[in-house]
Amino acid sequence: MDLSPIWLTLKLAAITTLILLLIGLPLAWWLSKKRSLIKTIIEAIITMPLVLPPSVLGFYLLLAFSPQHGLGHWLQQTFNVQFVFSFQGLVLASVIYSMPFMISPVKSAFQQLPVSLSQASYTLGKTQWQTFRYVLLPNIKPSLLTAAVLTFAHTLGEFGVVLMIGGNIPGVTRVASIAVYDSVEQMNYTAANNYSLILFAITFVMVLSVFIYNKYQAKSPLE
């Protein structure tokens, strides 16, 4: 059995989760503060992948990053980067596709913290960054873990978006969900079953771990 689709999937999920942690945390914090029209619009855009058919998202990404068209053409000419039918394209699509799974729980967690926590820290002379690092972040840890696991698990299960932008190149863009589909197409049910079983086991263990962890944590850090 060729295990490369499984490794590729895990690599994709890990990189996507890491990138989303880096950009999702500050973005969720910013969104959790005072509302404005621009924030509402940005939040709506971030949430779109939840309701949009993955193939639609993949189609637009394919158009946007195709080397024959504007942005994709420019990226290739200027930086020699190609997002279509490449692993970096899968990462980009996954980051966009899984973004609401990271942003939404983290934003809610920030919003649930009383505003007086930040205010108390400011009156002690602490900067916004110190307050974020030492007060806010440690108090949303359970939500952050849930968000990271959900993002990772959601990326494992991607199909439509990755197929549209990445295609089915073995070792490059052929992730596990595509390998399942491809095996079924070739009537190789044994391979399809093996891939499916591994994906099922990984996601089940991850979701179960989050449930167990959250059971032993207070639901809200302030309880």
Binding site: S121, T123, L124, P138
Partner: protein, 205 residues
Amino acid sequence: MITVDIKKGLKAYNGLQILQIKKKFSAGSITRITGPSGAGKTTFLKMVAGLITPDSGIIKTNNTAWFDASQQINLSPQQRHIGFVFQDYALFPNMTVKQHLEYATDDIQWISRLLKIGGLGDFTDHKPNHLSGGQQQRLAILRALAIKPKLLLMDEPFSALDLKMKSALIKDLQGLFAELGATALIVSHNPQELDGISGDELEIG
């Protein structure tokens, strides 16, 4: 001397309500702030601390303007160096008693002294959810004092303390205020609570 002459529109259930306060607080004084619920006592304290911006007016300490709407001066809470005791305590759930004080100051001797005054010496490794309401309130007071502020704003700071603890703590605090040369503005519902120590009163609403 702290001079306050500010205005702020507050949204109330019966429309916009104007909070207007004009008062001078002499250095080292203790002022009791009273008034009905929703009158703007907490908002007033937060405006002095720089956590809420007044619509107009000035807040001045000695000759330094903390806030001056006409000159667009508005110092941040960090620059004002004010001790603030929040009504909901605003303790950090992730920090122990000791970590709360260490977050505010590096002065270890000062921390030990505060812990002794607050009677929290045996609870240094406890997080807020393992403290009683009274202990949490005392920690909030100690944390505000940890930065050795010249101005202390306290929002219902003794509401969860029993009578014995309250009178002992108030006595100790009075000594500390004198030592720090601190001015204190204390919101209190209980008229007897600050008898004998507060020389002035401000009624809001």
